[in-house]
C-alpha cells in the first residue's frame, strides 16, 4: 500500500457546496507528487485534510485517508493527532506567519520534539543544529537564539524546512513553499527541498501553480479543477502527452523559458467549459 492513500475524499462547506469531489491520489514512500490547479481548486484543502487541520467551517462527507496504513478519518482526534505528528510534517507557504514571533527559533524547533515526541532537550538541540547546518544556515547556534523578525524571508523558509525534517517524518506536505519568496531565493529553496527530500527519503506532496517547478521536483502529478482530479499521471507522461484537454491547455499556458516571446496562451474557453461540464456532470451523478 502507498504511504499516503487518499480514496474518494469529498470535502464540502458545512451544508454547502463541495470543495473536493471524490479525490483519490497516492504518494509512495520517498516519492514526490505534485498537485497543480488554478487558485481555489482545492490544493491546500487536500493538504489540510491529510494533516488534520481542515478549517472548522468544512466537513469531510465521504472517503478515506490512509496514512502509513491507518485510516485517519476513523481515528479518535487525539490519536489521529499523534499519528500525524509522528509521521508527517508541513512546510507552509508564508514564512512570515509560519514562525511564532514571540519565541526564539531554537525552542520553536526543539520544543515539539521534547514535549510531543519525548526527546531529551540535548538530543533535540543537537538535531536542530545539525538540520540548520544542513539547510545551509550560517552560524546555526546564533540563529537558534534569534527571534523570527531578525531574519530574512529566505532564512525563515530554510528554518521551516529544517523544522519540518527535524523529526524525520515520512511524508511532508509543502504548500507552495516558494511563492512568497523572490525569484532568486525561490530557486535556492526549491533545490534545497529537492535535495533534502532525496537525502532523507521523504515522501512529498508538493502543492504549486508552477509547472516549471513540477518538472524539476516531482515524479507524479495530480491536476485538480474545482475539487475534481482531472488527471493523475507521471510527470514524464504529463509533459510529453497530457491526456486531459485541461492538462494540455495548462501546459500550453505555461511560459517557456526557451521562447519567452511566444507569450501566454490562456486556457481556451472551450476547455474551461468542457471541464466545468465535467464537474457539473459529477455533481448531478452524485445527487441522483
Amino acid at each position: 500500500m502507498s504511504f499516503l492513500d487518499i480514496r474518494g475524499l469529498s470535502v464540502r462547506l458545512k451544508k454547502g457546496p463541495a470543495l473536493l469531489r471524490r479525490v483519490s491520489l497516492q504518494v509512495q514512500a520517498a516519492e514526490v507528487r505534485g498537485l497543480v490547479g488554478e487558485s481555489g481548486a482545492g490544493k491546500s484543502m487536500i493538504g489540510k485534510a491529510v494533516l488534520g487541520i481542515l478549517p472548522p467551517s468544512v466537513e469531510v462527507s465521504e472517503g478515506e485517508i490512509f496514512l502509513d496504513g491507518v485510516d485517519l478519518l476513523r481515528m479518535a482526534p487525539s490519536e489521529r493527532r499523534r499519528k500525524i505528528g509522528a509521521v508527517a510534517a508541513l512546510i507552509p507557504q508564508d514564512p512570515l506567519t509560519a514562525l511564532n514571533p514571540s519565541h526564539r527559533i531554537g525552542p520553536q524547533i526543539t520544543d515539539r520534539l521534547v514535549d510531543i515526541l519525548g526527546w531529551t532537550r540535548a538530543r533535540a538541540e543537537a538535531r536542530a543544529l545539525e538540520l540548520l547546518a544542513e539547510v545551509q544556515i550560517p552560524d546555526p547556534a546564533r540563529v537558534m537564539r534569534s527571534y523570527p523578525h531578525e531574519l530574512s524571508g529566505g532564512m525563515r523558509q530554510r528554518i521551516l524546512i529544517a523544522s519540518a525534517f527535524a523529526a524525520e517524518p515520512k511524508l511532508i506536505v509543502a504548500d507552495e513553499p516558494t511563492t512568497a519568496l523572490d525569484v532568486t531565493v525561490q530557486k535556492q529553496i526549491l533545490r534545497l527541498i529537492a535535495g533534502m527530500q532525496a537525502r532523507h527519503g521523504t515522501a512529498l506532496l508538493f502543492v504549486t501553480h508552477d509547472l516549471g517547478v513540477v518538472s524539476k521536483v516531482c515524479q507524479k502529478l495530480s491536476v485538480l479543477y474545482s475539487g475534481l482530479v482531472v488527471e493523475d499521471t507521471s510527470v514524464a507522461e504529463f509533459f510529453t502527452a497530457p491526456r486531459h484537454p485541461y492538462s494540455a491547455a495548462l501546459l500550453a499556458a505555461t511560459p517557456k523559458y526557451t521562447d519567452p516571446l511566444a507569450g501566454l496562451n490562456p486556457v481556451p474557453d472551450a476547455v474551461i467549459d468542457a471541464v466545468r461540464a465535467e464537474v457539473a456532470a459529477f455533481d448531478r451523478m452524485r445527487h441522483g
Binding site: 489540510k48 494533516l51 488534520g52 487541520i53 472548522p56 487525539s78 493527532r81 499523534r82 500525524i84 505528528g85 509522528a86 508527517a88 510534517a89 508541513l90 507552509p92 507557504q93 508564508d94 506567519t97 509560519a98 514562525l99 511564532n100 514571533p101 514571540s102 519565541h103 520553536q108 520544543d111 515539539r112 514535549d115 510531543i116 515526541l117 527571534y147 523578525h149 521551516l160 523544522s163 523529526a167
Partner: protein, 283 residues
C-alpha cells in the same frame, strides 16, 4: 543623525520609569499609611479648618497641603485614600483581566459553540448602560469595597473579552498555529504556548488601563457616596467635599484631583511602556 528607533526606546523607557516611580511611591505610602501620614486622617479640629498649603501665608506647620473645612489634614487623607484606590485598582483590574481575557482567548481560539456563547453574552452585556448597571448592583449589594470591585469586574470584562477574542482569532489563522497542530499539539497546548504569548502585550496594556479606570470608577462612586463607609477617606469623597468649598479652600479639591489624574495617567503610561518593552518585534 538621530536614530528614530533608539529615540522611541528612550522615550518608552522614560515613561516606564516615571510611571513606575509614581505608582511605587503611591503603593509604599498606601502600605505604610499610618506611619507615613503626618496626621490622623480622621482627626477633626474646627479651630484648624481650611488651613492653606504650606507655601501660602496663614499655613500651619505640619499641615503641608492644608486642611479641609473640618480641620482634617489633606495630605494624610490623600495618603489614606490611596489605600482604597490602589486596592480597588489591583483587585478589580486583575479580576476583570483574568475573567475577560480568559473568555476572549477561549472564544477567539476555540471558536464554535464557545465563541457563540461568549459573543452572545458580550452583546447582551454591551446593551446595558454601565453606570446605571453599577449603581443598580451596588444598590442591591449595599455600598462597600467589594461591591465596587464586583461592579467593575461585571461591567468591564467585556472590554478584555472583545479585544482578546479578536486578537486570538487573528493569531489562530497564522501558519505557525497550523504547524503546531500538525506537530501534535492539542488545542489547549496550542492556545497556551502559541497564542497566549502573542496576545500578552495587549493583555498587559488593557490591564493597566483597566487599573486606571478602576481608580476613576471608585472615585466616581465615592463622589456620589456609593463607595465604602463615608468615614474612610477616599479621593472621590475628598473631591466631592472639596467641591462645596472651592472658593474658600481650593486645595481641598485640587490636590486629590491631581493625585487621581497622575495615578490614572501613570497606569496608562505604564501599559504603553511595558508593551514597547516586551513586544519582541518592537524591542
Amino acid at each position: 543623525m538621530v536614530d528614530g528607533r533608539s529615540l522611541t526606546r528612550r522615550r518608552a523607557g522614560a515613561r516606564l520609569w516615571l510611571s513606575l516611580t509614581w505608582l511605587g511611591l503611591l503603593c509604599l505610602a498606601a502600605l505604610f499609611a499610618p506611619w507615613v501620614a503626618p496626621k490622623d486622617p480622621l482627626a477633626q479640629d474646627l479651630f484648624l479648618g481650611r488651613l492653606p498649603p504650606f507655601w501660602v501665608t496663614g499655613a500651619e506647620p505640619g499641615y503641608y497641603l492644608g486642611t479641609d473645612s473640618l480641620g482634617r489634614d489633606v495630605l494624610s487623607r490623600i495618603i489614606h485614600g490611596g489605600r482604597v484606590a490602589l486596592m480597588v485598582a489591583l483587585i478589580a483590574g486583575v479580576a476583570t483581566c483574568l475573567l475577560g481575557a480568559t473568555l476572549g482567548l477561549l472564544a477567539g481560539f476555540l471558536r464554535g459553540w464557545v465563541d457563540m456563547l461568549v459573543s452572545r453574552f458580550i452583546d447582551i452585556w454591551m446593551a446595558f448602560p454601565p453606570v446605571l448597571f453599577s449603581i443598580l448592583l451596588i444598590a442591591v449589594m449595599g455600598p462597600g469595597l467589594w461591591s465596587i470591585i464586583l461592579a467593575i469586574v461585571v461591567i468591564d470584562w467585556t472590554r478584555f473579552a472583545r479585544v482578546i477574542r479578536a486578537e486570538a482569532m487573528a493569531q489562530g489563522a497564522m501558519d505557525y498555529v497550523a504547524s503546531a497542530r500538525v506537530a501534535g499539539r492539542g488545542r489547549l497546548g496550542t492556545m497556551v504556548r502559541e497564542i497566549l504569548p502573542n496576545v500578552l502585550p495587549t493583555v498587559v496594556v488593557l490591564l493597566t488601563l483597566e487599573m486606571g479606570i478602576a481608580v476613576i470608577v471608585e472615585a466616581i462612586l465615592s463622589f456620589v457616596n456609593l463607595s465604602i463607609s463615608t468615614d474612610d477617606p477616599t479621593w472621590g469623597g475628598m473631591i466631592a467635599e472639596g467641591r462645596t468649598s472651592i472658593h474658600q479652600a481650593w486645595w481641598v479639591l485640587v490636590f486629590p484631583l491631581i493625585t487621581l489624574f497622575l495615578t490614572v495617567l501613570a497606569f496608562s503610561q505604564l501599559g504603553e511602556g511595558l508593551k514597547d518593552r516586551f513586544d519582541p518585534v518592537l524591542r
